[in-house]
């Protein structure tokens, strides 16, 4: 049985009866058992429940009962998205044994369409990081070369899909956390428009910029998942009340006559040579398909990293204050502790990146520095949005490499947080402005490491964004991972 098929292909094979859900899920679990010791994409694997669900779905299909559109597709979920009855650890020792009392909206949407949640996948602690090395349970490794990082923070999502340990995954993207692992692991990852998908049940890190996003092998699969998880949710009043769109329909419309802006600030200095050359090839392939590509300058992008980390740290700092060992945390009694000592004892189990962000956040929000950092960061955000609004008057899409660099080795940048932050230069713009962006796998470097191309569209233009991503996907053939 081929575990390398796409989610869409899986659905049609199950419908045709050429494969059974139970058989596929069992094979997937075998695969996890075999490869995850090396990759470490999973924090929790829900084997028995997955097999039981698979049997139940097979039975439903056999007796011609109405079956959800996922037909028992095994999906992994980032471990900061709540799943009732299954641990949600955020890759933090603080929540090591936390079982959420309810399902996130996206989780219940997937379940109601008969997706099988095969397990919860690794991330940087509380999604704070770009490499998945800051997980308290150990790093995830890149399936293409296990000496390298898979990107992050949704590294478990990217790696589990690339390593054929599931058919698709949900991640969350605060500053590139879906797109970075998609690029480094050679899969597709979408950061949707702020407000397209409910964040109810996503453990908060930086509420004003983060979104849940699908990760899958193909653009079709991402569109398929988006159909299920997008839309208004009364539990999240930042979700938009837009009419439901079918993202799968007309996916192959093509891009003839479309205009694409090449973002100068994301394609110039500091971009790895092979990444730059892949980007140029992608641009010329899109031109061959009838698109017109023009350079476009967004000078606010130069300030985006400083603005992003100021805002993200500020919001993180307030969100983390709930981990006080009363509502969440370790199980030790309050007797004999003074208030502060009790809380700081529990927090001594936070990892270094979480502590850095708490300190930074508290600093940029403190009375003497608020105007100098936080307020200016918010103004940069407005400036980026204004420049994008102008750009989208002239072009339909924007393009850049997803990551300016190739995947790097595990441990290579871990002691230099600023250097790590700077690798997010091409991704944070979409979060600060709220617009959608997608990473499409496009090439392999001479050393066999994946290169992804990023495409942006204006807010709530996911349908058009998926069309250009689909067109780009069709211009390249990439190697398949060796099983």
């Amino acid at each position: 049985m081929n575990l390398g098929i796409s989610a869409t292909e899986f659905v049609s094979q199950v419908k045709e009866g050429t494969i059974s859900v139970e058989e596929f899920v069992a094979k997937t679990l075998e695969r996890i058992d075999k490869v995850d010791k090396k990759i470490h994409a999973f924090i929790t694997v829900d084997s028995q429940n997955a097999l039981d669900k698979a049997k139940a779905i097979d039975k439903k299909i056999k007796s011609k009962e109405k079956t959800g559109v996922c037909f028992g597709m095994p999906i992994s979920i980032k471990d900061n998205i709540c799943t009732a009855g299954l641990k949600t650890t955020c890759a933090s020792k603080m929540l090591e044994n936390f079982v959420a009392p309810y399902d996130a909206t996206v989780t219940s949407q997937l379940k109601s369409e008969d997706a099988i949640i095969i397990g919860k996948v690794n991330l940087d602690e509380f999604a704070m990081g770009s490499t998945t090395e800051f997980s308290s349970f150990g790093p995830t490794r890149n399936p293409w070369n296990t000496e390298y990082v898979p990107g992050g923070s949704s590294g478990g999502s990217g790696a589990s899909v690339a390593a054929l340990e599931c058919l698709a995954s949900l991640g969350s993207d605060t500053g590139g956390s879906v797109r970075s692992p998609a690029s480094f692991c050679s899969v597709v990852g979408l950061k949707p428009t702020y407000g397209l998908i409910s964040r109810y049940g996503l453990v908060s890190y930086a509420n004003s910029i983060e979104q849940i996003g699908p990760v899958a092998k193909t653009v079709e699969d991402v569109a398929f998942l988006l159909n299920i998880i997008s839309g208004h949710d009364p539990h999240d009043n930042t979700t938009a009340k837009n009419p439901k769109i079918d993202y799968v329909k007309d996916l192959a419309t093509g891009i003839s006559g479309k205009k694409i802006g090449i973002i100068s600030q994301m394609t110039g200095d500091g971009v790895d040579k092979e990444v730059a050359s892949a980007t140029n090839t992608a641009i010329s392939k899109l031109q061959d398909l009838g698109a017109q590509c023009v350079p476009i300058s967004l000078d606010a992008v130069e300030h985006s990293i400083a603005a992003y980390y100021t805002i993200a740290a500020a919001e993180a700092s307030s969100n983390l204050s709930r981990y006080d060992n009363l509502r969440y945390g370790f199980d030790f009694g309050t007797e004999g502790y003074e208030f502060k000592a009790f809380i700081s004892k529990a927090r001594s189990n936070f990892g270094p990146e979480v502590i850095r962000r708490m300190l930074l956040g508290a600093f940029v929000l403190s009375a003497g520095y608020y105007g100098k950092y936080y307020l200016k960061a918010q103004k940069v955000r407005t400036m980026i949005k204004a420049q994008l609004d102008e750009a989208f008057k002239k072009v339909d899409y924007l393009i850049s490499p997803t990551m300016p660099v190739l995947p790097f080795k595990v441990g290579e940048k871990i002691d230099d947080p600023l250097k790590l932050y700077l690798t997010d230069i091409n991704t944070v713009t979409a979060n600060l402005s709220g617009i959608p962006a997608i990473s499409v796998p496009f090439a392999m470097s001479s050393s066999g490491l994946p290169i992804g191309i990023q495409l942006f569209a204006n807010s709530f233009k996911e349908k058009e964004l998926l069309q250009v991503a689909h067109a780009l996907q069709g211009t390249t053939t990439l190697p398949e991972i060796t099983p």
């Binding site: 708490m358 930074l360 949005k385």
Partner: protein, 88 residues
């Protein structure tokens, strides 16, 4: 220049004990120095983005009783009171 005292004070406020204060001070200082880039931005507007929510979109002001499952994780004593450490 960030003072060691300042970072230690912040650590106290966010209630974390820094096991390697020197390392954190150096890293936080380096990152804040980078954030100083924000001083050189020329702004043409003082606007900041906000999300407006219509009054009609707010939920009705009615009491929604909590479910017991939501407080399962809290530390409780035998009378079902939530236990917190001594404040003073």
């Amino acid at each position: 220049m960030v003072e060691k005292k300042e970072i230690e004070h912040l650590a106290d406020l966010v209630k974390v004990d820094l096991n390697e204060p020197e390392k954190y001070i150096k890293q936080v200082e380096q990152i804040l120095n980078y954030f100083n880039k924000l001083d050189h931005v020329e702004f043409h507007s003082d606007d900041t983005l906000g999300i407006q929510i219509a009054k009609d979109d707010l939920r009705d002001d009615v009491n929604v009783p909590y479910q017991d499952s939501l407080i399962e994780h809290l530390k409780k004593d035998q009378n079902n009171f939530i236990r917190a450490p001594k404040m003073v």
